[in-house]
C-alpha cells in the first residue's frame, strides 16, 4: 500500500499567496464579493430571464396577470374602504388614491416575500455549484421590478386621465421607487439569510407582510394621523420607510406637500438596513450549503 502524504511530492509554492482563490472558514470581504458579482454579471441577466419567462407560460391571459392582483385589490378596497367605510382620501377619487398606495406596496410585499423564500427554492443548486449567492434574492426582485414598472405606468395613465395631464412632480417617482426597492432588498436579504436555516421566517413573513399593509398608509391617508402624532414627530414615521414612500408616491402623483423630512429619515433607515442585510447575508453565506 502506498503511503498517503509521502508519495506525491509537495510543491514548494504552496503558500496561500500563490493562489487565485483561498478558501477557509474566514469570510470573504465585501470587495471580493463585488468583484465576483462583476465576473458573474451575465448570470444575473439569465437568472432574471429565468424568473420572468416561465411565469406566464401556459396561461390564457399571459402578461395581463401582472396587472390583475393590483387592479382587483384596488377595486375591492374602493368598495370596502371608499364606499362602505368612507375612509377620507384628500378629495381625490378613492380608487386613484388607493391605487397610488397599492402599486408601491404590492411591489414591496411581493418582492420581499419572494426574496425571503428565494434561497429555499434554490436550495438544490446551493449544494451543487458556486455562483454569487447574492444573485439568488436579487434576480427575482429585479424581475418583480418589471411588474412595478407596469404598475407605475398604469397609475400614471389613471392620474393623467383624472387630472387631464401630469405635473413635473411625477419625476419624483423615480427616486422614490428606488427607495422602495432598497427597502425591499434590505428586508429581503435579512429574511432570506435567516430564513434558510430557521424556516419559521417563511411562516411568519407571509402574514406579517399582510398586517404591515394596514400599518402603512395604503388604505388610509397619512393626514389622519395629524390628530394623534405631533407635527414634530412625523418625520420619525420614516423609520418604517414604506410609510414615507407611499406618502411620497401620492404627493408626486396627486399633489399635496412632499414629506421631505420623513423621506430623509426613510432613506437613511433603508440604507442602514441594506448594510445590515448585506453583512448578515455575507456572514451566513458560507453555511448556506450545509444548512439548505
Amino acid at each position: 500500500m502506498v503511503e498517503a502524504s509521502e508519495w506525491w511530492p509537495m510543491n514548494a509554492s504552496s503558500a496561500p499567496e500563490s493562489f487565485d482563490i483561498v478558501l477557509s472558514n474566514q469570510r470573504q470581504g465585501l470587495r471580493f464579493l463585488l468583484r465576483e458579482m462583476w465576473d458573474f454579471r451575465d448570470l444575473l441577466y439569465f437568472l432574471v430571464i429565468r424568473d420572468l419567462k416561465p411565469r406566464y407560460r401556459q396561461t390564457v391571459f399571459g402578461v395581463l396577470w401582472v396587472l390583475a392582483p393590483t387592479l382587483f385589490t384596488a377595486t375591492v378596497f374602493t368598495a370596502v374602504f371608499g364606499f362602505i367605510a368612507k375612509v377620507p382620501s384628500n378629495d381625490d377619487p378613492y380608487a386613484l388614491f388607493v391605487l397610488a398606495g397599492l402599486v408601491p406596496w404590492t411591489f414591496f410585499s411581493s418582492s420581499t416575500q419572494i426574496a425571503s423564500g428565494s434561497l429555499i427554492s434554490y436550495a438544490y443548486l446551493l449544494s451543487k455549484v458556486y455562483f454569487p449567492r447574492l444573485f439568488i434574492p436579487l434576480a427575482p426582485m429585479i424581475a418583480r421590478s418589471m411588474d412595478f414598472f407596469v404598475g407605475i405606468c398604469v397609475v400614471l395613465v389613471a392620474t393623467s386621465v383624472h387630472q387631464g395631464g401630469l405635473s413635473v412632480r411625477a419625476l419624483f417617482l423615480i427616486p422614490i421607487s428606488m427607495l422602495v426597492f432598497v427597502t425591499a432588498l434590505a428586508l429581503g436579504l435579512c429574511l432570506c439569510a435567516i430564513g434558510l436555516k430557521y424556516r419559521d421566517v417563511s411562516h411568519a413573513s407571509s402574514f406579517m407582510l399582510q398586517l404591515m399593509m394596514y400599518a402603512a398608509p395604503v388604505v388610509w391617508p397619512l393626514e389622519m394621523l395629524k390628530d394623534v402624532v405631533p407635527e414634530s414627530l412625523m418625520p420619525l414615521l420614516g423609520l418604517f420607510p414604506m410609510v414615507a414612500c407611499i406618502a411620497g408616491f401620492r404627493a408626486s402623483l396627486l399633489g399635496g406637500p412632499m414629506p421631505w423630512a420623513m423621506l430623509g429619515v426613510a432613506t437613511l433607515t433603508a440604507l442602514l438596513g441594506l448594510l445590515v442585510g448585506l453583512l448578515l447575508f455575507v456572514r451566513l453565506e458560507r453555511s448556506f450549503a450545509d444548512v439548505a
Binding site: 500500500m1 506525491w8 496561500p16 407560460r57 449544494s127 451543487k128 455549484v129 458560507r286 453555511s287 450545509d290
Partner: protein
Amino acid sequence: MSLAIHFENVIKTYPVHSLISQPTTIWASARSLFSSPLRNLRELSRLGNLNASGELVYALDQVSLGINKGEVVGLIGRNGSGKTTLLKVVARVTSPSTGWVGINGRVASLLEVGTGFHPELSGRENVFLSGAIMGMKRREILEQYDNIVAYAEIARFMDTPVKRYSSGMFIRLAFAVAAHLNHDVMLVDEVLAVGDVLFQKKCLKTMAEIAGAGRTVLFVSHNMSAVMQLCDRVIWLERGKIVADGLPQTVVRDYLRHSSDFIVSDRLEVKSNKARCIERVRLHDGSETTSVFVTDGPMHCEVTVLLDDEKAAIDLIFTILDAQSTPLITFSSEEAKLHTDLGRCLVSFAFERLPLNPGRYQLDLAMEVGRHHEHLAEPVSFEVSWPTNERKNFDHLLESGPIRVPVEWHCSSIE
C-alpha cells in the same frame, strides 16, 4: 509544474443530530409542546455553524494534498468516505471547518447532469442559463452554442420547453453544456452514471478528451475501469482521510483488495445441509488472491466442491458476464471428464492470456452432478485493466467489444 489545487490540513465537520427522547405521558407531551421551541432553537443553531460543539462527523479529516495543473485525478472510496465533500469544498459550495484550500484558475463543478435547468424554459434558454450558472460568460456560450446543439443532436427541439423532452434528450442536452465548459479545473461526480450504454460511452470519450486537453480534472467514481482509463493518479479516501495516493493501477488494486464487500474474489458460500455444494470460489493471478486482472495476463480460478453422498461425474459450467450481466463466454469442464472421490475436491482452470478487454466482469458458476444442479448464489465480480506499461488508447477501447481473440495478420504489397 505549478499547483492547481492545494489542500492544507483541511477538516470538514458536520454536527450529528442528537436523539430527542419522546414524551410518554399526556402531561409530558403538553409540556414538551411549549418547551420544544427552545430545544429546536438549540439544535438548529448548530446547523452550519463552523465551530459547532457536541457530536461531530468528520467528512474530511486533516486532508493535505497538492494537485498539479493538467493532472487527472480519480477519487475513490466507499459511500460516505468524503469524496463528494472534497469536491464540494473545491467547488466552493461548502467551506472547510479548519485549514485552507488554494485554487488556481476557474473551477467548473459537474456534480450532477443538468445543473440549473428549468423545466418551463426552452432548450435554447436552458443552454444559456445552465452555462451561465456553471460560470460561462454569455459570449463564450454564444461561441459554443452550435457545437453544443450538434453534440446533443436535438437541433429540432431547441425551442421546445425542456419539460416536454424525453429523459434521453434532456440528459444529452445537459451533458452537452457540461462538455463545452472551458474551465481550468473540472470537478466531475458520477456524471457518467446516467443514460444508456451508448451515451455513457460517448460521455466517457468526451471525458477522455477533456482529460487529454491539459485541464485539471477531479473525478469521483465507483466505476473502477473508468477511473483507470481516465486518470493519471488516484486518491483513495476512507472516513475523510487519504488512505492511498498514487498510480491508478496500484491504488485501485489495493482498494479492491481491501473492500471485500465490494468485490469478492475469494468467497465461501453459505453451506446448507446439502450433500453436494460449491463451497468456495477463489480468483488469483498465479500467486495472490485478487480481483483485478490484466488483459492478456494470467487469471486462475479455484473452486472447492463438496461431494458427500455418491461418487459421480461432475461438470462445472462457467460463464463470464459483462457488468450488465450479458453472458460473454461459457465453457464447461465436460471435455476434461473430471471424476472425483467423495469428500472435498479442488477444481481449477486457468487462462494463460485472459481474452478480455479492460472493464468490469462477473464470473458465474453452475455445477452438475448426475441429475442435480447447484449454482452460485451470486456471481463473483472482477476487474480487468491494461497492463501497467501499456498506453491507454481510449478510442480503440470504447469502440471495441469485450473479447480479445488472437488474429493472424498479413501484409504484402500488391504489384
